[in-house]
Symmetry: D2
Subunit: 143 residues, 4 copies
């Protein structure tokens, strides 16, 4: 398998078990080595007291994009520390798109940025995630 | 109303509209000026591909505790920037407790720390939230 | 004055007063609306107990690049919250380059990313800064 | 040696080599397992264009307190990711005090909070640091 095939196989293995991303209506629209793009529609049950999408659900979408990106090399990886900056409110019915890109990968540590955009392409939130690999691979490879 | 009564009235007004905290099964167990404690049980639909609670749901619980704490002074406030550090995995069926405390409140800016603990009292995640007040109050006060 | 001239005039006004950036041997090599590039050589007095550049000096360089970028619109701005991730150690004698770019500017709030690189072009640190404008301009403009 | 003696011996070994903390006029006033308190006076060469202490020097003080705290167990540790929130400006001549406390230490990863206060006891900045141990000890112990 080449690196793109490994990214897709890792995505398939992760997605099958990822109840949280499934139950929040996310879709993995694209994955490649070090990057992933996911979408999610804001539903009524995701709204907070300000009638906008609760920050937790914006974070969940971004965090899933980060997870698919940092696991795209077929090496299991987990989040250590993440931060999010809220730039614009998101509203019920909007389809949000989160794109994760790899800033750095050195040894076991990875750094990823995730931009969350609304249907107009405006930046809703900017997320940064720090990952660390753990033992184990998503798909077995004959070597 | 005294400050404690305002905190409780603000909580009631926020909770009534907070579909996200309701739909994730959260409970506000305590609120006081500058602080709030919420609980949430990890359900099967919150699990990620590692069979532990997805970081997005840990964040959502912490973010809600932060929101109730920073809105406890009857002045509407929104999140600007948040960060979370994952310290231990949380498992299905565990009742998690998030306690938000106010580190600083200067003018319109607030700084809050939230500790998320499992039933053994172990730290699962440590969250830090930056808030900013916006015009509007949760309950009208005759002055 | 056009936006580029304003950026340069703001830089000149800030630099004249910025004893900290001067005393650490920084140079503003480039400024434009929303961006700035600064350099600094790691000296012996910047080393920590591991014989590498103390994180505080890496941060100081990045923070100055952030400051020149967020003040480049001739509107005074200050830092609210910053974070830094250390990716590679920096050594005595290395000329470090920090490049700040504007991710978002909405109302009074700005978000900036700063990459700090060594002479080989390797990423030494990645910084993110949140700014907020305050009353006052760097140079007076006839309107 | 008991844990307090190890903390003091680690401090002595680190301080002897820490040119950055020395050259910025810092003093380690207290160290114990998991905690450290340092002071620094704001000098003219630390001022930025707003005539207040440059954020880089506030960060440097906090980062040093973090370093002495996370190295207090005689196991070498380095910073991975740090964040700082600026709450009040600091002025020339003020003696600042940074107190680092250990929030969590699990395996090789540590989490530390540092409060930077001015002579009135007001919070100037709040810092959070993530450390990771590396091979090596500060002082050799017969075992």
């Amino acid at each position: 398998m080449d690196t793109q095939q490994l990214a897709e196989a890792s995505r398939d293995a992760m997605w099958a078990e990822d109840r949280a991303s499934q139950s929040t209506g996310q879709t993995v629209v694209d994955v490649a080595p070090g990057t992933a793009t996911l979408t999610m529609t804001v539903t009524a049950t995701m709204l907070n007291g300000h009638h906008t999408c609760h920050g937790g659900f914006l974070f969940t979408l971004a965090d899933s994009a980060f997870a698919f990106a940092c696991n795209s090399h077929n090496q299991k990886a987990v989040a250590q520390h993440c931060s999010i900056t809220y730039l614009k409110p998101a509203f019920e019915g909007e389809l949000l798109t989160a794109t994760a890109t790899e800033c750095d990968l050195s040894g076991r540590s990875g750094l990823y940025d995730v931009a969350v955009r609304n249907p107009k392409g405006e930046l809703v939130a900017q997320f940064r995630g720090h990952s660390r690999t753990i033992p184990g691979q998503h798909v077995e490879i004959d070597t």
